[in-house]
Symmetry: none
Subunit: 237 residues, 4 copies
């Protein structure tokens, strides 16, 4: 499977490598330090949400978790809300970057691409209890916060569109005229999200291989000539 692929650059502020930084004109180094602090805060936020939940995530906990002082968040993010939005964006960017890279590495074969997506979905980099807890925390608040909803929607629709395109290709080139590619795509995505919930609520019961197997069970049912549910492995027909 794909190694953890690089995360997509964040909103026009592409992360620069250390070596690059040192050769920049003065002032850029300082900017990099600032960026590093921002990142530390975002990561501390993720940790806090995962550990304490959304409701008990305070700026005090975040700044303490980042090993910094109280007022720091307002300094770097203007407001708590902005920090939260940036955290969600960060998470979404990471996730999107991850599956995009996986798909890119999978080559041209649609079945292989779909398999890559399934594998990415349950890869420890994005599918671990901490991150899933944070995703669910944001989803839990999404209904009442249009900004969150927008970020989730954008990332979701992009993901769905990618899957749908592959499904369409399979339907057309694989001779599945009776299959609705839209339904298939919806199904696969829903399956993945629902299996994440298992990891959140019953981590003891969840297992990565089983989750993958269930997805392939679905795909084997829909695209029987391209997937098989046997022995937990995918195979192009």
């Amino acid at each position: 499977m794909a190694e953890a692929p690089r995360v997509a650059a964040k909103r026009g502020r592409p992360p620069k490598s250390q070596s690059q930084l040192r050769t920049q004109r003065p002032g850029t180094q300082r900017a990099a330090a600032k960026e590093a602090t921002r990142l530390k805060l975002i990561e501390a936020t993720i940790d806090s949400i995962a550990r304490s939940g959304f409701a008990d995530t305070t700026l005090a906990k975040v700044s303490e978790g980042a090993g910094l002082s109280r007022g720091i968040v307002n300094f770097h993010f203007t407001s708590k809300d902005a920090l939260l939005v940036e955290t969600l964006t960060h998470l979404a960017d990471e996730y999107t970057g991850f599956w995009r890279a996986a798909v890119a590495e999978a080559g041209a074969d649609p079945a292989a691409r779909l398999t890559a997506i399934v594998d990415a979905e349950f890869h420890p980099t994005v599918c671990n209890r901490k991150k899933i807890a944070v995703w669910y925390a944001f989803w839990g608040e999404a209904r009442s916060r249009p900004t969150y909803l927008a970020v989730c929607e954008r990332q979701d629709s992009e993901h769905l569109e990618a899957i749908r395109a592959i499904c369409r290709e399979l339907v057309e080139t694989g001779g599945y005229a009776d299959i609705d590619a839209e339904d298939a795509a919806n199904g696969l995505m829903a399956l993945a999200d629902g299996l994440w919930l298992d990891q959140l609520l019953t981590p003891a019961h969840f297992d990565r291989a089983a989750a993958r197997r269930v997805c392939l069970l679905f795909l084997a049912g829909v695209f029987p000539r391209h997937f098989t549910a046997k022995r937990g492995a995918a195979s192009a027909a």
Copy 2:
């Protein structure tokens, strides 16, 4: 499909009809009024979580939503946390009661029972944006609140076990020796939970019939002789 079935009685305090109340011994009427107030508060809590989210659900909003005074929640539930737990329990009881009734009405045929479960899952009584928002709000906090987790887990495992039993029956009596009933059950549940997320995040895009169709697409793939994905209808072979 099943009409909204009656919710299981909560903790031994079955709601009594008005006519019954008047003929009871004195004191019972008062107790019933108290219970009615409790219920009003729970419903106001659900409304508030759905509308304002978990974080912005304050006791002031809840009591105002219930048309009652400020201190009322602490009077009936001791603490905000207790109210929240009882709200989740209420939700879980309602949900469990709902699908149980649906299954009971479906008769003995396993395919019909499974279809009933799928239908119940997306019935407007339990599957509407308000309730789903509340479910996701609780799931979002579950990781950091063992009490929520316990309630979710209990309800979840009961639901899963019911589905698993039906799948097992299908596997054994339907001649699906190569199918893992456990995987099938996990898949169906995950699918349902994931499709709920669609309704939460992209309500415009969600549609009940499509959700049902996707589930049947899965079931048709797994149990092809008992389900067919055609025209969005289930049919026993």
Copy 3:
């Protein structure tokens, strides 16, 4: 020493004996029941203050302690404040009645009367940790509550005046021309109050006999021909 003497009648509502009550005209019996409830509430108040302190004495605790319902106090006493004042008055009346009875029983000899007062002061009926805690609780609030202050003052000055009168008699008839009776009386009262504090703060260290001995040490110093500090016993010269 004097047996616990009867408590002085309370402000125009003299307690009636049970037998008396039954022979009264109808309606009086009901009044007696009401009076009994009042008393139960006052006693529950004393218990609560002793156990939970002034700050944590709530009407809920009081009514529960009395085995009655929530609203009962406002029914019988109009307000919490009134209950508290009546409790203090009750305490003061009991205390005053107690030492008055003790003095009355002591006869005419001034030394014997003074001894009786000292003995009464440390008699378990009035000098036990519960009641002392309540006295100190009221004293602690007295400064800021003129009503409490007034009740305390009235009782205090009466007590002091009684002691002063005896001291004066001793000075005049006992040949203690160089002794200021006022100072002697003040000293004895202060001594008693201060020794009560010992029982409150260091109950393990406090002992009734020692307290009595200390008072007699004082009296023996002031009126050497009438009191002796030896062996913890008072004796008229």
Copy 4:
């Protein structure tokens, strides 16, 4: 008599003079300001308890009295309870520091030392209606608050032990074989506490000189060759 002696430094954070502050390393000045704020709050608490009583001392009153904002107490003391405990500790430290300094200044003579203690007891610095009201407020709550009790007990037993030691010395070196030094010490302390109560309850009637006279009346009775009650003055024999 001793001039108001300096209070013992509190918990290793000795107050620094302004001039010192400016020359310290950065950060210390800030810490000093913080300490000053703490002290202001403690003093505002004492004022409030004295004026409004324990029950009506709210954090709003305290912070207003200190000229600071609402949330300030929780910032500096975590909780109201902690503030109260620190206030009591402050009071106890001040009191202990005061009499200790007085005794130290009195020299070696036991009678002079005892006189110094009596004088300190009624010195306006510690014996004024405000502070006594606060002491009684804490004593009133002590029964039900082990923490208060512990602080009171510690300070009390230290004070008592000091007095007892002096009494013992007097007994042994002064030839008072028939006097129980323990009783004498208990008596003197109780007398002082009881006389404080007079100032609390009947301030009009209380007078410092008389209080002192009463104590000497006691001491003259117990140690006649070292104290005389005449003319309200103490004198070594």
